[in-house]
Symmetry: C2
Subunit: 216 residues, 2 copies
């Protein structure tokens, strides 16, 4: 009984995800689902990305949060439009929530749309929502064993951003082992090594985004 | 429809949680639900706790994981019994999963039972499972704003362990502000500041556990 109901919910979700995808593609919006644990640095990476790219592209951010509007407020202070989705306690964003947010946005004008998903390595990976690309951050202090624990997330994203690289000297994170593991699970995924604090790797990440924007 | 089904699931869950609680109390087991983000250092804290207390108390660990048995294997190497629960993709442990694990354990012999929950700050807080105490770890690199984002977790636990204190010099984590926030949401919660790597604060944490064990 429980399984059947969940199956129906997932089918309905996928239909709305396909509709979201059509709407985003028709309006030539590069849409990116950004996933990570709490505290991996999603908002910080988005803020730095906005600083680097906002003069070239029209950027917008949808912030999914369980309770607060703190992250949306930080984005707005950078002079970029941000929409807040309160997931009402849900641990992920589903296609319906994204669809409702899209209705409020001037999609024709937007080049690059980020959805900052709820901080969680499990549930967000299970829901198709209709974005063109999905990426995840893994911060160095979380440890290099995470692909084994969250294989669905690591094997389905288009890019993995290793964040907080400035913590590496204090950590036992083995970058070589990590990259080998990720490439084994997901050969097509790009891997970026970034520290927003020092600026390391930011240009590689924004360069990738610019390349994706050309293909839209 | 979805809401009704979820409500029924939660009621059924709470009944099983009450049964688990009875069973643990009758056997005078101090049971602790350990929650945190992925990579906050749950397993490392448990391993250090085992090293400090295993000569005095009979300890057992239930490891809930989505995919791997890596954490359970690490516990077993310390010479302590560990049971692995594969949550089958679920982002939390429910009362039924704990109940099934309890059936396999020699509860009469156990003094201290840890359940290491799935790495997630959302879903595990929503499920009563029947443990005596619930605690959470927040690692310094995750940032001091997390209570605002995950208020249910922070306001319901019995203790908050601030982990990875050795990262503090590289971080902008404001301990004073964090403690004030947590005390505002949850005045009764204990707050421990721990680094397993340097040993800082470990004795405070194990001292609290020993005090709880006396009350069982």
């Amino acid at each position: 009984m429980k399984v059947t109901v969940l199956q129906n919910i997932m089918n309905a979700n996928d239909k709305i995800a396909a509709k979201n995808q059509d709407m985003l593609e028709q309006n030539r919006v590069l849409s990116i689902n950004v996933m990570a644990s709490p505290g991996a640095g999603k908002t910080s990476l988005l803020l730095e990305t906005i600083r680097q790219l906002k003069d070239k592209f029209k950027i917008c951010v949808i912030e999914a949060d369980i309770a607060s509007t703190m992250d949306a407020d930080r984005i707005i202070r950078e002079g970029v439009q941000a929409v807040h989705i309160n997931t009402g306690g849900e641990c992920h964003t589903d296609a319906n929530m994204l669809g409702a947010a899209l209705e409020d946005l001037p999609l024709k004008e937007i080049d690059l749309l980020f959805l900052e998903n709820v901080g969680n390595l499990v549930c967000p990976a299970e829901f198709r929502i209709g974005t063109k690309k999905s990426i995840m951050l893994l911060s160095v202090p979380e440890g290099d064993d995470k692909p084994f624990k969250y294989p669905l997330m690591f094997s389905t994203v288009d890019a993995v951003v290793v964040s907080k690289m400035d913590y590496l000297p204090l950590s036992d994170f083995d970058l070589e082992r990590f990259e080998k593991t990720v490439r084994g699970m997901n050969p097509k995924a790009e891997i970026f090594k970034v520290s927003v604090r020092t600026g390391e790797g930011v240009a590689d990440w924004t360069g990738w985004l610019e390349a994706q924007l050309k293909g839209i």
